[in-house]
Amino acid sequence: MANVTLTINGQQVTVPAGSTILQAAEKLNIFIPTLCYEPILTRPASCRICVVEVKGSKNLVPACAALARDGMVVETDTPEVIEARRTIIDLLLANHPMDCLTCGRNGDCRLQDYAFMYGVRESSFSGEKHNYPLEDDNPFYIRDMNKCILCGKCVRVCAEIQGNSVIDFTYRGFNTKIAAFMDVPMSQSECVFCGNCVAYCPTGALQEKYLRSHARTWEVQKVTTVCPYCGTGCTLDLNVKNGKVVGVTSTDGEVNGKALCVKGRFGFGFIHHPDRLQQPLIKKDGRLVESTWDEAIQLIATRLGEVKAQYGADAIGFLTSARCTNEENYLLSKLARAVIGTNNIDHCARL
């Protein structure tokens, strides 16, 4: 494919034809803000926060959609560009609750980041504000449509990634709102609560219910690991606060990108469930009672040894686990085969 060479902020860059100005700028590590843009989704170029100045163009152009052309001269932070971006933020804030102090997405919000970056403390417009009730009808995520900036990412995620098209733009003008068909609560819609919309939402309009009410964004450590449910092998981030898993967020997984399902994203509560076994148990007089590790391990060694001595190694069977790690499965096979001396080992692959 042919290449094009353009100049951005005085620096020359060569990119494949068909690249956008934004992609060319990324190659130069030049920052351009975006709200509605997402590389893997279609590009409506609707938020206009990414506008830049192109020499010879009458208007500012959206960098996320405008294609780089040979010989193009682009400036990303002229006073006109900055003013346009400030105005966009100003207009968005005109209908946005200024409750960052208590917002669960405080510290993880593009609108907040850009307001800070461009010094927009509050809106200079006064007028009507939405006062939608908080949508809290399911145990997975909350929707606060007062905080929605109508970037439409969630609509495109639901259609283009999840493939369900459960939500879309409804109503008109100022009353435009993202909703399910007939504007029913999500729990009455076809929503499967994968939460992939939440993963892409740039503001506090969509929030993981448990995570955002139990931890501020800067309090959590993220540990990248693999989902414990089905065989797809989705990568996810466990969010840890004070030694406890308080939530799951998307990262850029090799298999799944940012996509997860309801179990992977919202099914982590079992980790700290009070039913978790925390102590070895030994059956005494028909009841399981707590014991020490030493006592339990010794009992196992003794009893397995006795059974082996009396009935032979093949009188012992092992079930290893499709839920455990490779290393653990390997060791249980070693225990069965090398230590006990039986090939009686299997697991639930057939079930």
Partner: protein, 527 residues
Amino acid sequence: MTNPIADIEGANFILALGTNTTETHPVIATKIKQAVRAGGILAVVDPRQTELARLAHYHLALKPGTDIALLNGLANVILTEDLYNKDFVAERTEGFAAWKETVLKYPPEVVAGITGIAADTIREVARGYARSANATILYTMGITQHICGTDNVLAIANLAMLCGHIGKPYSGVNPLRGQNNVQGACDMGGLPNVLTGYQPVADPDVRAKFAAAWGVTSLPEQPGLTVGEMMEGAAAGKLRAMYIMGENPVLSDPDSTHVVHALEKLDFLVVQDIFLTETARLADVVLPAASFAEKDGTFTNTERRVQRVRKAIEPVGEAKPDWQIICLVATAMGYPMQYGSPAEIMAEIARLTPSYGGISYQRLEQGSLVWPCPSPDHPGTPRLHVGKFARGLGKFHPVEYVPPAELPDEEYPFILNTGRRYFHYHTGTMTLRTGALEEYYAQEHLEINPADARTLGITDGDRVRVISRRGQVEVTARVVDTVPPGVVFTSFHFPEVAINRLTNTARDPVAKIPELKVCAVRVEKIA
């Protein structure tokens, strides 16, 4: 899977058999939907009208257990209409002539009689699969959990070879595996007949290699018992002790009354788990294990991708990671077993396992690796059978349709089909304790067709009793037309609807997989 998950998106034709993908593998289902969105054709073979079936261009609602007839019928059309890939068959396969004789016995009209699918639909789907530049086959337990599960898979492989839709991108024979590390558990020798990387226990050289590495004089030579055979052995008093790590056979295995009886009969039972499962309650010793969030390790996904599992928190209470527990037991039995970390265990696995030979934690930190990955400089093998099959030539296996082991009769007039739900997982030990999933999807139900419900006087929400020759459960009826007349469906997630009390232990003779997808039941309204 022969091909990576990402390949699904690029397929022109997807044949999905016995897979309720949107519920059981939701993220893989997104790839199917994206393929359809891009113009791909989707054919779904499933007795039930699943979400995937509703999305499909063709829904082949076959009678349960008639997959071989259908697959042979598809091959028959492709053969008789001369649509097959002659170059591929000539250069890459063997056994074609003998196989062809069998397939010619399955013209579409005959297959229509067995499967209940119109002959013309069979023709259209066969043509679509054969003529597509790239076609992929996806399947899960709807194919394998039958007494003819192995033959079902062979029939799928025959079809893929016939059209040359294997060994290239966007195609292949792709089982979607159901558990996070079921692939890895098999890879690691968690099977009675093989050591790691499917090295047979019957091979003396393999045994000698492992015996030397493990510091023992010899290793057992005879393949051991599968899970179903262990339960029978326990019931018969031949198996005297069991050690169960992270499994819940009381809910997951067929004929659970028999499973409970078998486990109770053991002299000694150890269960190592994160919860006091229905199985753990029967144990003599229960060991508290760390959850996935509390340990380091690797999982191998359905496309053979080995990925790092990372410790995020300390084990709760006195729980320990399973690998540490096993070391303690081995050491207490006079076999000192010590590892500083799971990375050391992986190094040992890599030394003993050709397909994992190039896998190390150091490399996995840079990204996942797909086996076979035989050496440290090998990039991994996302696609199998490119240019050459693992066995050399691909072999056509003639397979014949056999009916399921237990078909409906007057006393038990319905077929019970079981599976999973989107909001829950396997025996529910985890998903019923999340504070979210079980709140949203709190109660199980039995799906029954409106025509059947009417006959039985059942309305939506009625309590019903489902009874087989082996057991019974009570459950709430949901009257829906997504199950065909004569078939009822529910999941095995909920202990209060322990549906495996009813299921049949009849097994495939090779894979020993039980026929969980078909057994005969009757349904009674509870007055």
